[in-house]
Protein backbone atom coordinates (compact mmCIF):
# COMPACT_ATOMS: atom_id res chain seq x y z
CA UNK A 1 0.00 0.00 0.00
CA UNK A 2 1.99 2.99 -1.22
CA UNK A 3 1.52 6.72 -1.17
CA UNK A 4 -1.03 8.06 -3.63
CA UNK A 5 0.64 9.00 -6.90
CA UNK A 6 0.38 12.53 -8.21
CA UNK A 7 1.52 11.93 -11.78
CA UNK A 8 0.29 9.76 -14.64
CA UNK A 9 2.27 6.70 -15.73
CA UNK A 10 3.10 8.62 -18.88
CA UNK A 11 4.60 11.52 -16.94
CA UNK A 12 6.56 9.08 -14.79
CA UNK A 13 7.94 7.43 -17.97
CA UNK A 14 6.60 4.14 -16.67
CA UNK A 15 7.03 1.04 -18.80
CA UNK A 16 3.28 0.49 -18.46
CA UNK A 17 2.39 3.80 -20.12
CA UNK A 18 3.13 1.83 -23.31
CA UNK A 19 0.04 -0.05 -24.50
CA UNK A 20 2.15 -2.68 -26.31
CA UNK A 21 3.87 -3.52 -23.04
CA UNK A 22 0.47 -3.93 -21.35
CA UNK A 23 -0.72 -6.22 -24.13
CA UNK A 24 2.48 -8.27 -23.85
CA UNK A 25 1.89 -8.77 -20.12
CA UNK A 26 -1.73 -9.78 -20.78
CA UNK A 27 -0.69 -12.28 -23.46
CA UNK A 28 2.36 -13.82 -21.79
CA UNK A 29 2.85 -15.27 -18.30
CA UNK A 30 -0.05 -17.38 -17.06
CA UNK A 31 -1.89 -16.97 -20.37
CA UNK A 32 1.18 -17.61 -22.57
CA UNK A 33 2.00 -20.80 -20.64
CA UNK A 34 -1.56 -22.10 -20.92
CA UNK A 35 -2.04 -22.08 -17.13
CA UNK A 36 -5.15 -19.97 -17.79
CA UNK A 37 -7.15 -19.98 -21.04
CA UNK A 38 -7.01 -16.86 -23.20
CA UNK A 39 -10.25 -14.91 -23.56
CA UNK A 40 -10.52 -16.10 -27.15
CA UNK A 41 -10.29 -19.75 -26.08
CA UNK A 42 -12.82 -19.20 -23.32
CA UNK A 43 -15.50 -17.60 -25.48
CA UNK A 44 -14.89 -20.15 -28.22
CA UNK A 45 -15.87 -22.90 -25.71
CA UNK A 46 -19.42 -21.51 -25.76
CA UNK A 47 -19.38 -20.70 -29.49
CA UNK A 48 -19.23 -16.97 -28.80
CA UNK A 49 -16.11 -16.28 -30.88
CA UNK A 50 -15.84 -14.00 -32.75
CA UNK A 51 -17.74 -11.46 -30.69
CA UNK A 52 -19.70 -9.32 -33.10
CA UNK A 53 -21.01 -5.76 -32.80
CA UNK A 54 -24.78 -5.47 -32.82
CA UNK A 55 -26.79 -2.36 -33.54
CA UNK A 56 -25.17 0.78 -32.12
CA UNK A 57 -26.96 2.05 -29.01
CA UNK A 58 -24.33 4.01 -27.10
CA UNK A 59 -21.83 6.49 -28.48
CA UNK A 60 -19.17 7.09 -25.83
CA UNK A 61 -16.95 10.10 -26.40
CA UNK A 62 -13.69 10.57 -24.54
CA UNK A 63 -13.16 14.34 -24.76
CA UNK A 64 -9.68 14.23 -23.24
CA UNK A 65 -7.39 12.62 -20.70
CA UNK A 66 -6.86 15.71 -18.55
CA UNK A 67 -8.23 15.34 -15.03
CA UNK A 68 -7.97 17.13 -11.69
CA UNK A 69 -7.49 13.77 -9.95
CA UNK A 70 -4.90 10.98 -10.27
CA UNK A 71 -6.90 7.94 -9.14
CA UNK A 72 -4.93 4.81 -8.30
CA UNK A 73 -7.04 2.54 -10.49
CA UNK A 74 -7.56 4.83 -13.52
CA UNK A 75 -7.59 2.86 -16.77
CA UNK A 76 -7.18 6.10 -18.74
CA UNK A 77 -3.99 7.09 -16.90
CA UNK A 78 -5.65 10.49 -16.63
CA UNK A 79 -4.31 13.38 -14.61
CA UNK A 80 -3.46 17.08 -14.58
CA UNK A 81 -0.35 16.39 -16.67
CA UNK A 82 -2.24 14.80 -19.60
CA UNK A 83 -2.60 17.20 -22.52
CA UNK A 84 -4.72 15.13 -24.92
CA UNK A 85 -7.84 17.25 -25.44
CA UNK A 86 -10.52 16.92 -28.11
CA UNK A 87 -10.69 19.91 -30.48
CA UNK A 88 -13.87 21.70 -31.53
CA UNK A 89 -13.27 20.41 -35.06
CA UNK A 90 -13.47 16.77 -33.88
CA UNK A 91 -16.50 17.63 -31.76
CA UNK A 92 -18.19 19.05 -34.86
CA UNK A 93 -17.51 15.78 -36.71
CA UNK A 94 -19.13 13.91 -33.80
CA UNK A 95 -22.15 16.23 -33.85
CA UNK A 96 -22.58 15.43 -37.55
CA UNK A 97 -22.65 11.72 -36.63
CA UNK A 98 -25.05 12.21 -33.70
CA UNK A 99 -27.55 13.70 -36.14
CA UNK A 100 -27.63 10.56 -38.28
CA UNK A 101 -26.96 7.74 -35.83
CA UNK A 102 -29.67 5.60 -34.31
CA UNK A 103 -27.80 5.49 -30.98
CA UNK A 104 -30.07 6.46 -28.09
CA UNK A 105 -27.33 7.29 -25.60
CA UNK A 106 -24.51 9.80 -25.77
CA UNK A 107 -21.94 9.26 -23.04
CA UNK A 108 -19.22 11.86 -22.38
CA UNK A 109 -16.19 10.73 -20.45
CA UNK A 110 -12.52 11.66 -19.90
CA UNK A 111 -10.40 12.49 -17.79
CA UNK A 112 -12.69 15.10 -16.37
CA UNK A 113 -14.77 15.98 -19.43
CA UNK A 114 -15.62 19.37 -17.91
CA UNK A 115 -11.94 20.39 -18.24
CA UNK A 116 -12.13 20.42 -22.02
CA UNK A 117 -12.41 24.14 -22.93
CA UNK A 118 -15.10 23.33 -25.49
CA UNK A 119 -17.09 21.08 -23.15
CA UNK A 120 -20.02 23.47 -22.62
CA UNK A 121 -20.27 24.36 -26.28
CA UNK A 122 -20.32 20.67 -27.17
CA UNK A 123 -22.99 19.84 -24.57
CA UNK A 124 -25.19 22.71 -25.78
CA UNK A 125 -24.87 21.65 -29.42
CA UNK A 126 -25.37 17.94 -28.72
CA UNK A 127 -28.39 18.65 -26.48
CA UNK A 128 -30.01 20.46 -29.41
CA UNK A 129 -29.87 17.23 -31.45
CA UNK A 130 -32.01 15.63 -28.76
CA UNK A 131 -30.49 12.26 -27.84
CA UNK A 132 -32.68 10.25 -25.48
CA UNK A 133 -30.10 9.78 -22.74
CA UNK A 134 -27.23 12.27 -22.51
CA UNK A 135 -24.67 11.17 -19.92
CA UNK A 136 -21.76 13.13 -18.50
CA UNK A 137 -19.35 11.11 -16.36
CA UNK A 138 -18.36 13.61 -13.70
CA UNK A 139 -15.81 12.86 -11.00
CA UNK A 140 -17.77 15.20 -8.65
CA UNK A 141 -14.72 17.00 -7.24
CA UNK A 142 -14.42 19.03 -10.43
CA UNK A 143 -17.63 20.81 -9.39
CA UNK A 144 -15.80 22.10 -6.29
CA UNK A 145 -12.28 22.32 -7.78
CA UNK A 146 -12.45 25.90 -9.04
CA UNK A 147 -14.96 28.75 -9.07
CA UNK A 148 -15.38 28.45 -12.82
CA UNK A 149 -16.96 25.03 -12.29
CA UNK A 150 -19.27 25.97 -9.39
CA UNK A 151 -22.26 26.44 -11.71
CA UNK A 152 -21.92 23.00 -13.32
CA UNK A 153 -24.95 21.56 -11.45
CA UNK A 154 -27.11 24.34 -12.96
CA UNK A 155 -25.56 23.80 -16.37
CA UNK A 156 -26.26 20.06 -16.17
CA UNK A 157 -29.84 20.73 -15.11
CA UNK A 158 -30.43 23.23 -17.91
CA UNK A 159 -29.51 20.59 -20.50
CA UNK A 160 -31.14 17.68 -18.67
CA UNK A 161 -27.81 15.89 -18.42
CA UNK A 162 -27.77 12.45 -16.83
CA UNK A 163 -24.93 12.69 -14.30
CA UNK A 164 -22.94 9.53 -13.57
CA UNK A 165 -20.36 9.95 -10.83
CA UNK A 166 -17.67 7.85 -9.25
CA UNK A 167 -17.93 7.05 -5.57
CA UNK A 168 -15.82 4.09 -4.44
CA UNK A 169 -17.25 3.91 -0.92
CA UNK A 170 -19.51 5.62 1.58
CA UNK A 171 -16.62 6.11 3.97
CA UNK A 172 -13.95 8.80 3.79
CA UNK A 173 -10.97 6.48 4.30
CA UNK A 174 -11.71 4.09 1.44
CA UNK A 175 -12.62 6.89 -0.96
CA UNK A 176 -9.58 9.05 -0.29
CA UNK A 177 -7.23 6.07 -0.49
CA UNK A 178 -8.30 5.41 -4.05
CA UNK A 179 -8.99 8.90 -5.32
CA UNK A 180 -6.84 11.24 -3.22
CA UNK A 181 -6.88 13.22 0.01
CA UNK A 182 -9.99 15.34 0.44
CA UNK A 183 -11.89 13.72 -2.45
CA UNK A 184 -14.57 12.26 -0.19
CA UNK A 185 -15.54 15.58 1.43
CA UNK A 186 -15.58 17.38 -1.92
CA UNK A 187 -17.65 14.60 -3.49
CA UNK A 188 -20.20 14.75 -0.66
CA UNK A 189 -20.50 18.51 -1.09
CA UNK A 190 -20.94 18.11 -4.86
CA UNK A 191 -23.61 15.42 -4.37
CA UNK A 192 -25.49 17.68 -1.96
CA UNK A 193 -25.40 20.48 -4.53
CA UNK A 194 -26.73 18.13 -7.20
CA UNK A 195 -29.48 17.02 -4.80
CA UNK A 196 -30.32 20.68 -4.15
CA UNK A 197 -31.00 21.09 -7.91
CA UNK A 198 -33.27 18.03 -7.85
CA UNK A 199 -30.67 15.54 -9.10
CA UNK A 200 -31.01 12.03 -7.70
CA UNK A 201 -34.22 12.73 -5.78
CA UNK A 202 -36.62 9.76 -5.68
CA UNK A 203 -39.16 10.99 -8.24
CA UNK A 204 -36.91 13.36 -10.14
CA UNK A 205 -36.25 13.08 -13.87
CA UNK A 206 -32.81 14.57 -13.26
CA UNK A 207 -30.85 11.33 -13.15
CA UNK A 208 -27.93 10.93 -10.78
CA UNK A 209 -26.23 7.54 -10.73
CA UNK A 210 -23.10 6.51 -8.88
CA UNK A 211 -20.32 4.24 -10.02
CA UNK A 212 -18.70 1.93 -7.53
CA UNK A 213 -15.48 0.16 -8.33
CA UNK A 214 -13.48 -1.90 -5.83
CA UNK A 215 -10.69 -0.28 -3.93
CA UNK A 216 -8.13 -2.96 -4.66
CA UNK A 217 -7.45 -6.40 -6.10
CA UNK A 218 -10.91 -7.89 -5.69
CA UNK A 219 -14.14 -8.03 -7.66
CA UNK A 220 -17.22 -5.96 -6.90
CA UNK A 221 -19.95 -7.49 -4.74
CA UNK A 222 -23.57 -7.84 -5.72
CA UNK A 223 -24.72 -4.57 -7.32
CA UNK A 224 -28.21 -4.51 -5.78
CA UNK A 225 -26.86 -5.15 -2.26
CA UNK A 226 -24.14 -2.54 -2.67
CA UNK A 227 -26.72 -0.04 -3.89
CA UNK A 228 -28.83 -0.67 -0.79
CA UNK A 229 -25.81 -0.21 1.49
CA UNK A 230 -24.70 2.97 -0.32
CA UNK A 231 -28.19 4.47 -0.21
CA UNK A 232 -28.62 3.76 3.49
CA UNK A 233 -25.20 5.13 4.48
CA UNK A 234 -25.27 8.25 2.28
CA UNK A 235 -28.79 9.12 3.42
CA UNK A 236 -28.14 8.49 7.14
CA UNK A 237 -24.78 10.23 7.25
CA UNK A 238 -25.23 13.08 4.76
CA UNK A 239 -28.88 13.20 3.65
CA UNK A 240 -27.83 12.32 0.09
CA UNK A 241 -30.09 10.63 -2.49
CA UNK A 242 -29.15 9.07 -5.80
CA UNK A 243 -30.85 6.77 -8.28
CA UNK A 244 -28.77 3.73 -9.30
CA UNK A 245 -25.42 2.32 -8.34
CA UNK A 246 -23.34 0.78 -11.12
CA UNK A 247 -20.83 -1.78 -9.83
CA UNK A 248 -17.89 -1.82 -12.22
CA UNK A 249 -15.00 -4.29 -12.23
CA UNK A 250 -11.50 -2.83 -12.49
CA UNK A 251 -9.91 -4.01 -15.72
CA UNK A 252 -6.27 -5.09 -15.59
CA UNK A 253 -4.86 -2.30 -17.71
CA UNK A 254 -2.92 0.93 -17.22
CA UNK A 255 -2.65 2.17 -13.62
CA UNK A 256 -4.67 -0.72 -12.20
CA UNK A 257 -2.38 -3.19 -13.97
CA UNK A 258 0.60 -1.28 -12.59
CA UNK A 259 -0.90 -1.60 -9.10
CA UNK A 260 -1.67 -5.32 -9.53
CA UNK A 261 1.90 -6.07 -10.58
CA UNK A 262 3.55 -3.85 -7.94
CA UNK A 263 1.40 -5.37 -5.16
CA UNK A 264 1.99 -8.93 -6.47
CA UNK A 265 -1.74 -9.41 -6.96
CA UNK A 266 -1.75 -9.78 -10.75
CA UNK A 267 -1.96 -13.58 -10.99
CA UNK A 268 -4.54 -13.95 -8.23
CA UNK A 269 -6.66 -11.22 -9.80
CA UNK A 270 -6.55 -12.84 -13.23
CA UNK A 271 -7.46 -16.18 -11.67
CA UNK A 272 -10.42 -14.51 -9.94
CA UNK A 273 -11.58 -12.98 -13.23
CA UNK A 274 -11.28 -16.23 -15.14
CA UNK A 275 -12.97 -18.26 -12.39
CA UNK A 276 -15.88 -15.78 -12.35
CA UNK A 277 -16.24 -15.93 -16.16
CA UNK A 278 -19.93 -15.93 -17.07
CA UNK A 279 -20.99 -16.78 -20.66
CA UNK A 280 -24.31 -14.98 -20.05
CA UNK A 281 -22.40 -11.75 -19.48
CA UNK A 282 -20.67 -12.19 -22.86
CA UNK A 283 -24.07 -11.97 -24.56
CA UNK A 284 -24.58 -8.38 -23.40
CA UNK A 285 -21.03 -7.15 -23.06
CA UNK A 286 -20.98 -3.41 -23.77
CA UNK A 287 -18.63 -3.45 -26.75
CA UNK A 288 -21.40 -5.13 -28.74
CA UNK A 289 -23.66 -2.06 -28.60
CA UNK A 290 -21.18 0.75 -27.90
CA UNK A 291 -18.66 2.69 -29.93
CA UNK A 292 -15.89 4.59 -28.19
CA UNK A 293 -14.44 7.74 -29.79
CA UNK A 294 -11.03 8.98 -28.65
CA UNK A 295 -10.02 12.62 -28.09
CA UNK A 296 -8.54 12.70 -31.61
CA UNK A 297 -11.60 11.12 -33.24
CA UNK A 298 -10.51 7.50 -33.67
CA UNK A 299 -12.98 4.66 -33.14
CA UNK A 300 -12.67 1.79 -30.67
CA UNK A 301 -14.88 -1.03 -29.39
CA UNK A 302 -14.68 0.37 -25.85
CA UNK A 303 -12.81 2.90 -23.73
CA UNK A 304 -10.46 0.12 -22.55
CA UNK A 305 -9.48 -0.82 -26.09
CA UNK A 306 -8.95 2.88 -26.73
CA UNK A 307 -6.39 2.97 -23.91
CA UNK A 308 -4.71 -0.17 -25.28
CA UNK A 309 -4.55 1.36 -28.80
CA UNK A 310 -6.64 -1.47 -30.23
CA UNK A 311 -8.65 0.24 -33.01
CA UNK A 312 -11.94 -1.09 -34.39
CA UNK A 313 -11.77 -3.86 -36.95
CA UNK A 314 -13.55 -1.87 -39.65
CA UNK A 315 -12.82 0.20 -42.73
CA UNK A 316 -14.14 3.17 -40.79
CA UNK A 317 -11.36 3.99 -38.33
CA UNK A 318 -12.17 7.64 -37.63
CA UNK A 319 -15.34 9.53 -36.76
CA UNK A 320 -14.99 11.41 -40.07
CA UNK A 321 -15.36 8.02 -41.86
CA UNK A 322 -18.32 6.89 -39.73
CA UNK A 323 -20.91 4.77 -41.47
CA UNK A 324 -23.19 2.57 -39.40
CA UNK A 325 -23.13 -0.19 -42.03
CA UNK A 326 -19.32 -0.36 -41.90
CA UNK A 327 -19.34 -0.82 -38.14
CA UNK A 328 -22.35 -3.04 -37.44
CA UNK A 329 -21.40 -6.70 -37.40
CA UNK A 330 -17.68 -5.96 -37.03
CA UNK A 331 -15.55 -8.42 -35.09
CA UNK A 332 -14.77 -7.04 -31.64
CA UNK A 333 -11.05 -6.81 -30.85
CA UNK A 334 -10.31 -8.80 -27.69
CA UNK A 335 -7.52 -9.63 -25.27
CA UNK A 336 -7.32 -10.94 -21.73
CA UNK A 337 -8.50 -7.62 -20.21
CA UNK A 338 -11.96 -8.52 -21.58
CA UNK A 339 -12.33 -11.03 -18.72
CA UNK A 340 -13.03 -7.92 -16.60
CA UNK A 341 -16.34 -7.35 -18.37
CA UNK A 342 -17.50 -10.97 -18.23
CA UNK A 343 -16.81 -11.81 -14.57
CA UNK A 344 -19.78 -12.64 -12.35
CA UNK A 345 -22.79 -10.53 -13.30
CA UNK A 346 -20.59 -8.80 -15.89
CA UNK A 347 -19.45 -5.21 -15.95
CA UNK A 348 -20.02 -2.25 -18.20
CA UNK A 349 -20.12 1.54 -17.94
CA UNK A 350 -23.81 0.98 -17.03
CA UNK A 351 -23.00 -1.60 -14.36
CA UNK A 352 -23.88 -5.30 -14.48
CA UNK A 353 -25.05 -6.89 -17.73
CA UNK A 354 -26.21 -10.39 -16.75
Amino acid sequence: MGKLKTQSLQKRDSDLANSNRQLEILSNGIFGSGELPTFKTKIAETNQFPLKAKKLEILQINVGYMCNQVCEHCHVDAGPDRKEIMTRETMQQILDVIKVTGAHTLDLTGGAPEMNPNFRWFVEEAAKVGVKDFIVRSNLTIIRANKKYYDLPDFFKKHNIHVVSSMPHWTRGKTDKQRGEGVFDMSIKALQELNDRGYGMPDSDLKLDLVYNPNGAYLPGDQATMEKDFKKALMEDFGISFHNLFAITNLPISRFLDYLIASENYEDYMYALVEAYNPAAVENVMCTNTLSVSWDGYLFDCDFNQMLDLPVNSKAKHISEYKEELLEGRNIVISQHCYGCTAGAGSSCQGVVA
Binding site: H169, Y212, Y218, L219, P220, G221, D222, T225, M226
Partner: protein, 111 residues
Protein backbone atom coordinates in the same frame (compact mmCIF):
# COMPACT_ATOMS: atom_id res chain seq x y z
CA UNK B 1 6.10 -30.93 -2.89
CA UNK B 2 6.00 -27.56 -1.25
CA UNK B 3 8.46 -27.03 1.61
CA UNK B 4 5.88 -25.16 3.65
CA UNK B 5 2.60 -26.51 5.00
CA UNK B 6 0.50 -23.70 3.56
CA UNK B 7 0.63 -22.37 -0.01
CA UNK B 8 -1.83 -19.52 -0.82
CA UNK B 9 -2.24 -20.96 -4.35
CA UNK B 10 -3.70 -24.16 -2.81
CA UNK B 11 -6.91 -22.30 -1.96
CA UNK B 12 -7.76 -22.24 -5.68
CA UNK B 13 -7.52 -26.05 -5.66
CA UNK B 14 -10.07 -26.51 -2.87
CA UNK B 15 -12.68 -27.74 -5.35
CA UNK B 16 -10.37 -30.61 -6.32
CA UNK B 17 -11.07 -32.44 -3.06
CA UNK B 18 -14.19 -33.76 -4.81
CA UNK B 19 -11.97 -35.64 -7.29
CA UNK B 20 -11.15 -38.29 -4.70
CA UNK B 21 -14.70 -38.60 -3.44
CA UNK B 22 -17.16 -36.95 -5.78
CA UNK B 23 -20.30 -37.73 -3.80
CA UNK B 24 -19.12 -36.41 -0.45
CA UNK B 25 -17.31 -33.50 -2.09
CA UNK B 26 -20.47 -32.48 -3.94
CA UNK B 27 -22.55 -32.80 -0.79
CA UNK B 28 -20.08 -30.64 1.12
CA UNK B 29 -19.98 -27.87 -1.50
CA UNK B 30 -23.76 -27.91 -1.91
CA UNK B 31 -24.10 -27.55 1.85
CA UNK B 32 -21.42 -24.86 2.00
CA UNK B 33 -23.07 -22.83 -0.76
CA UNK B 34 -26.47 -23.13 0.88
CA UNK B 35 -25.17 -22.01 4.27
CA UNK B 36 -23.88 -18.74 2.85
CA UNK B 37 -27.04 -17.83 0.98
CA UNK B 38 -29.13 -14.92 2.23
CA UNK B 39 -31.48 -16.24 4.94
CA UNK B 40 -32.61 -14.94 8.31
CA UNK B 41 -29.08 -13.54 8.42
CA UNK B 42 -27.78 -11.44 5.53
CA UNK B 43 -24.90 -12.71 3.40
CA UNK B 44 -22.94 -9.75 4.80
CA UNK B 45 -23.50 -10.88 8.41
CA UNK B 46 -22.55 -14.45 7.49
CA UNK B 47 -19.36 -13.19 5.89
CA UNK B 48 -18.36 -11.44 9.14
CA UNK B 49 -19.15 -14.56 11.19
CA UNK B 50 -17.04 -16.60 8.77
CA UNK B 51 -14.18 -14.14 9.12
CA UNK B 52 -14.26 -14.31 12.90
CA UNK B 53 -14.41 -18.12 12.89
CA UNK B 54 -11.62 -18.25 10.30
CA UNK B 55 -9.43 -16.54 12.88
CA UNK B 56 -10.45 -18.62 15.87
CA UNK B 57 -9.84 -21.72 13.72
CA UNK B 58 -6.60 -20.09 12.57
CA UNK B 59 -7.19 -21.23 9.00
CA UNK B 60 -5.01 -19.12 6.68
CA UNK B 61 -7.03 -20.09 3.59
CA UNK B 62 -10.27 -19.02 5.26
CA UNK B 63 -8.72 -15.77 6.47
CA UNK B 64 -7.63 -14.92 2.91
CA UNK B 65 -10.99 -15.93 1.48
CA UNK B 66 -13.21 -14.07 3.93
CA UNK B 67 -11.07 -10.95 4.07
CA UNK B 68 -11.46 -10.69 0.31
CA UNK B 69 -15.13 -11.61 0.53
CA UNK B 70 -15.66 -8.83 3.06
CA UNK B 71 -13.93 -6.26 0.88
CA UNK B 72 -16.08 -7.33 -2.06
CA UNK B 73 -19.17 -6.71 0.03
CA UNK B 74 -17.99 -3.25 1.05
CA UNK B 75 -17.34 -4.32 4.65
CA UNK B 76 -14.93 -1.89 6.27
CA UNK B 77 -11.73 -2.85 8.07
CA UNK B 78 -13.23 -1.45 11.30
CA UNK B 79 -16.18 -3.85 10.98
CA UNK B 80 -13.79 -6.74 10.24
CA UNK B 81 -11.67 -5.98 13.30
CA UNK B 82 -14.76 -5.77 15.53
CA UNK B 83 -15.86 -9.18 14.29
CA UNK B 84 -12.41 -10.57 15.12
CA UNK B 85 -12.61 -9.22 18.64
CA UNK B 86 -15.87 -11.12 19.10
CA UNK B 87 -14.02 -14.28 18.09
CA UNK B 88 -11.07 -13.41 20.31
CA UNK B 89 -13.32 -12.63 23.27
CA UNK B 90 -15.07 -15.98 23.00
CA UNK B 91 -11.72 -17.76 22.63
CA UNK B 92 -10.25 -16.06 25.70
CA UNK B 93 -13.53 -16.36 27.57
CA UNK B 94 -13.58 -20.05 26.80
CA UNK B 95 -10.09 -20.35 28.25
CA UNK B 96 -10.87 -18.36 31.34
CA UNK B 97 -14.21 -19.97 32.08
CA UNK B 98 -12.29 -23.22 32.60
CA UNK B 99 -10.74 -21.40 35.50
CA UNK B 100 -13.90 -22.21 37.39
CA UNK B 101 -13.08 -25.88 36.97
CA UNK B 102 -9.58 -25.19 38.25
CA UNK B 103 -10.99 -23.34 41.22
CA UNK B 104 -13.47 -26.14 41.95
CA UNK B 105 -10.65 -28.68 41.85
CA UNK B 106 -8.40 -26.61 44.09
CA UNK B 107 -11.24 -26.10 46.56
CA UNK B 108 -11.96 -29.81 46.57
CA UNK B 109 -8.35 -30.90 47.00
CA UNK B 110 -7.20 -28.36 49.52
CA UNK B 111 -7.98 -28.69 53.18
Amino acid sequence: MSKTYYDPADLRKFGKISEWNQELGDKFFDYYGKVFEEGSLTAREKSLIALAVAHTEQCPYCIDAYTKDGLQRGITKEEMMEALHVGAAIKSGATLVHGVQMMNKVNKLEM
